[in-house]
């Protein structure tokens, strides 16, 4: 049983790209920012290609701490898409606002490496290490802009609450370790047969602590206090990155843990998740209604979207997990698309962040406004956009598994959310423009990112079949017992 390096080749590619960028940044001038973007692009493409090569290999490597399964495969596609779009929307922004800091890309890549480790680990130690490798660069990224005081505040708040959440997470891991005497998920699942009442209590308590810890990362409702401030304070490209990948990574671990511990946790957990999903959706949507700052509005909307994915987690099993995977993919593309338009509209130093500032932009920047309209409609879940396909799949999964009320509350929430998403469109097309017009800076890479996200949104809305089939295939491999049985070590 040697070290099977092939299993973690996408992770290695991402980490290596990060280090190459770190060294490259020393030797090139600050004006050659496009070189960093190009290297980042190549690195992500290599990682995606290596991930595609691993498509058919399922296995556990490195003495059982790394697992390569369809769910991890799917999540790595989501992370690579998120990072790819983030690199493109950041390129001009970094050279314009941050004097071309190379560290920015390095931190993005190390955070992505952490997410991929989280999605593909089969051991609680590696899950924790992946989480910290993801979180620590994000704390730095939140406050990376030199001239932005609110960014400093965001970094502080994010750091304090993130470390608080890590403490809870670790306590939960310690209790689960106490219940089974191992941190390896494969070994733990083999010890379920011999578990006693004592280990049952410890597992239950441990899972509650883990849920609190990851609840902070996915921005579920009682643990969401940091989200609006951090999303508003951090610069727009960083917010776009933060709202997509890390949330998906925390969900990857939650999906994995709940399918591993399915046999031993009590049914009360379904009730806990049910309540958590409902509170998260309601709280996010209701507070988003009154927001004036668009980044703050999208922060509350991201809380609401975490609530929709929590429905998928509550449903669980094949249907729930495939719906959750598909939704997270769509959310990543659409949300980063919306943020790319925000970067475009907000002008120098992100001066124009209020929804009312966008008055009259529908006629001034017709193409960008159309793209923004499509992203907003997709986030609201309008038919013929990607958001509809994702929400439809989640609600159908909920109804088929007997969670009728959860589906009804979810549909009601999507209806409420239409109000504030449409508010942006109304402001762009139907309000009188202000006298002082913001100077908008055109950028090639930003346009590419908008185009990719736009095509993705429309394509996944009209022809979602291929990707639904892929997520069903990934979701059908949720059962931990069958994976462990069929593994080649």
């Amino acid at each position: 049983m040697g070290f099977n390096w092939i299993l973690i080749s996408p992770e290695i590619a991402v980490l290596a790209t990060g280090f190459i960028l770190l060294i490259l940044d020393l030797f090139i001038g600050k004006s050659r920012g496009f070189l960093l973007t190009a290297v980042s692009f190549i690195g992500i493409m290599v990682a995606l290609w290596l991930n595609y090569q691993n498509y058919s290999i399922m296995g556990v490597g490195f003495q059982g701490i790394v697992i390569n399964d369809p769910i991890g495969f799917y999540f790595k596609i989501i992370f690579c898409m998120g990072t790819l779009l983030t690199v493109f929307i950041s390129s001009t922004y970094v050279s314009r606002e941050m004097k071309g800091m190379g560290e920015y890309y390095v931190l993005i890549f190390i955070a992505t490496f952490g997410m991929m480790v989280m999605a593909s680990s089969a051991d609680l130690i590696t899950i924790f290490l992946g989480l910290e490798v993801m979180s620590i660069p994000l704390y730095v990224l939140a406050g990376i802009h030199r001239g932005r005081l609110r960014g400093r505040e965001a970094a502080m708040k994010y750091f304090l609450l993130g470390a608080f959440a890590s403490g809870f997470l670790l306590y939960g891991i310690a209790l689960i370790f106490g219940a089974y005497g191992s941190t390896n998920l494969v070994e733990i699942s083999q010890r379920f047969l011999f578990s006693s009442g004592f280990s049952g209590i410890l597992t239950g308590a441990g899972m509650v602590f883990l849920l609190v810890g990851f609840g902070f990362k996915i921005a579920a409702a009682p643990f969401h206090m940091w989200v609006p401030d951090v999303y508003e304070g951090a610069t727009a490209p960083v917010t776009a990155f933060m709202s997509a990948g890390p949330k998906a990574a925390a969900f990857a671990v939650l999906f994995r843990l709940f399918s591993v511990f399915q046999p031993v946790i009590s049914d009360n957990f379904t009730t806990i998740l049910w309540i958590l999903a409902v509170i998260t959706m309601l709280w996010g949507n209701l507070l988003a209604l009154s927001q004036k700052n668009i980044k703050r509005m999208l922060a509350y909307s991201s809380i609401a979207h975490a609530g929709y994915v929590l429905i998928a987690l509550t449903v669980g099993g094949r249907d729930g997990i495939s719906a959750g995977l598909f939704y997270l993919l769509i959310y990543t593309i659409v949300n980063i698309g919306a943020f790319s338009i925000i970067i475009f509209f907000s002008g120098k130093n992100e001066k124009y962040e209020n929804i009312s500032d966008y008055a009259g932009f529908g006629y001034k920047y017709p193409f960008a406004a159309i793209a923004m309209t499509v992203f907003m409609l997709a986030l609201a879940g309008f038919p013929a956009t990607a958001g509809f396909a994702g929400k439809y799949k989640i609600f159908v999964a909920a109804i088929n598994s007997g969670f009728i009320w959860l589906a009804i509350i979810g549909i009601f929430n999507s209806l409420v959310s239409v109000w504030y998403y449409i508010g942006v469109v109304v402001s762009m097309y139907m309000k009188q423009p202000r006298d002082e017009s913001p100077t908008v800076i055109l950028s090639m890479t930003l346009m590419v990112a908008v185009l990719v996200a736009f095509i993705g949104t429309v394509y996944l809305g009209l022809f979602p079949d291929d990707w639904i089939a892929l997520s069903d295939w990934a979701g059908s491999h949720y059962s931990w017992a069958s994976i462990v049985g069929s593994l080649v070590r």
Partner: protein, 102 residues
């Protein structure tokens, strides 16, 4: 001779103390110290479980070493952020850092 339960109670008490400190301290450095207290409570848990439940395997103790390492990395980043806050806000009272509503 103290048993496993004694260590678990000590760890739970330390964890609760850390949480209490984190919620009530105004000074950012005090908050950082409370976080360290929570991490070390978890370390006690791991080492106690390792000693009493799996005396032949070292997983729990290795996990404690990992936690110490990560806590150091977090403290480094955290103190850097506190430094920046001090420069910009002329103070490190967490309740005074409120440009945005909390």
């Amino acid at each position: 001779m103290p048993g496993l339960t004694h260590y678990l109670i000590l760890a739970a008490a330390l964890f609760a103390l850390g949480m209490f400190g984190l919620l009530t301290r105004r000074n950012a450095v005090g908050v950082l110290m409370s976080i360290e207290l929570m991490f070390n409570a978890v370390n006690i848990n791991f080492v106690a479980f390792s000693r009493f439940l799996t005396p032949e395997a070292l997983t729990g103790q290795i996990f404690a070493v990992f936690i110490i390492t990560i806590a150091a990395a977090e403290a480094a980043v955290g103190l850097a952020i506190v430094m920046l806050i001090y420069r910009n806000f002329r103070g490190i009272e967490v309740d005074k850092i409120n440009f945005m509503k909390w």
